[in-house]
Amino acid sequence: MHPWVVTPGRGAQGQARVDRDRARWDNSFVDREIRITAEPIDGARCRFVVSEPLLDGVRRFATAEEAAGSPLAVALFGIAGVREVVVSGGTVTVTKEGPAPWAATGKQVGAAIRSTLASGVPPVAAAAPSAGSGGDEALYSRVADLFEAEINPAVARHGGFVELIDVQDAIVMLRMGGGCQGCGMADVTLRQGIETALRRRVPEIAGVVDITDHSAGTNPYVAASKK
């Protein structure tokens, strides 16, 4: 686990951003109303932004068995079709099978989040070291080096930055910011640039998950238009 690790080399700026995030979440405790915003990414994936923190860090659950000990993940895997859950701070990214509308599944996810938070127990347990976590540690280090040496200097040319959030089960979790956040070409940068570079340089990587809230971007490098 790398709780709130920011990309090496971003130093104080990255830490300041983490501190701001923490302060915002701490403030949300004042208001106990739980607000959940569902943001479908596509037919298979939906991001749920929760007004209260769920986990100080990030965890990915690929099976119901992995969810044991984390009540929120257990509840989510109880919903038909759910096959992956990523919890990062106050964000839950759920992947389900099939392109069925998120309207129905989303309501079940929202109910699971609310009931888990209402129970008063930690919704997600910190990851216990597993047989594979040593591999993730090593992968994290290599990916972090690549982010520092190549990825971030490149995206900085368009005013962007990419934070490496964690590596779990060889899945890289990242968050985009600056000019990348909300950019109309962010997915192209992610899939054709960052992921391709990662897979070539660190072939053990099994995938890349973007946990960015792109709707919150305020200065995208390219804004979409009708022409």
């Binding site: 607000r35 959940i36 915003t37 569902a38 943001e39 479908p40 596509d42 037919g43 099978e97 099939g98 392109p99 069925a100 509308p101 998120w102 309207a103 190549e150 490149a154 995206v155 040319r157 368009h158 962007g160 909300g182 109309g184 070409m185 962010a186 997915d187 192209v188 940068t189 899939r191 054709q192 640039g193 960052i194 391709t196 570079a197 709707s215 971007g217 305020t218 200065n219 995208p220 390219v222 804004a223 979409a224 238009s225 009708k226 022409k227």
Partner: protein, 419 residues
Amino acid sequence: MGARARLLLLLPSTTYRAAAFVEAARRLDVDLTVASDRNSVFSGREPEGLATFDFADRGRAVAQAAAFAAEHPVAAVVGVDDDTAILAAAIAEALGRPHNPLAATLAARNKLEQRRALAAARVPVPAFRDHGLDEDPRAVARAAAYPCVLKPLCLSASRGVIRADTAEAFLAAHRTLTTILEAPEVAARGAESRRYLVEAFVPGPEFALEGLLEDGRLVVLALFDKPDPLDGPYFEETIYVTPTRLGEGARRSLADCAARAAAALGLVTGPVHVELRLNDAGPWLIELGARPIGGRCSQVLRFGEGAGAITLEELLLRQALGMRVPSFEREAAAAGVMMIPVPGAGVLRAVRGVDAARAVPGVEDVAITAHRGQRMVPLPSGSQYPGFIFARGASAAGVEGALRRAHACLRFDVAAPGD
């Protein structure tokens, strides 16, 4: 050529559709190259996956694509909008890949050429005349029949399209149109940017047909109602709902009109997006684009049912690559999208009520695509939507109602210019 086919996807950097097409390509077992008009920061490092072509210079872009393809053979070339449809045809022609005739895509892109070709083929189009900004507008206004619509040749998505019911209104519309067309980014398009059509206003409800051409045969993928009247003076697109509530005869007449139009232009393959009107005289062809539906509207379209359903983008890529398309049949549920109207001119400071809008039964998503600080420009000048609302349900009427209720929840805080 290697075991995996390579898809060359032409994506303008300002498209709304990048993620939809890229994710669709990832679901297929192909190598993907995204070519855009702006350099990606990774172009130098990932030259197989990212290319930069000069979209403004077709000949140069074709040469760039040919040089790329010499190193990395390309199985299919796909554009995503009016301009890249032309470029895709030109590149595919140069590479010997399946494509629409270049002349057909050019005719579809140019409103004047399109109307001439359609009128010659006796496809019903509004009466039209072609004029230049340099002509005396008072003379043009005197000669016009009213009500009429001024329509620039070089713009899309209702930009610059203005209805005039009198000569005075014509002159006012002409002044507005001149301002739009003389803006530097529009004027840079060359001589065509100084021309416009004056065409008869066709009364009646409007519909949008999403289709796919296969060897010249039109497959209707979806027919959308546009329940908000488009009577001018500006023609802001808002709600699209499918299936249409028209009867079988009317549906067939619209589809026949669209098929005749595509044939008249010489289009034979790939997507078409067709705007039609229907009144007592029958169907009227308003616009035909050799491209899929714009904005993020395709999000409401799914083909097939259950786990095997595919998106519009996947369907289009499969066709272009010669892969099997599992279903051309849209799902059974009704679906709709609202292109959120620009709430006013100014700088967007906040959008409120999104959670409430998302909570409206039937609403699947509310995507605010404008960012805080973005300048909002209404029609006829504007070119960006604040966002989109998506809904699905048992009936078209229910979906339309959900979209309207969700929109009513939204509050836009827009600082007026100068605030």
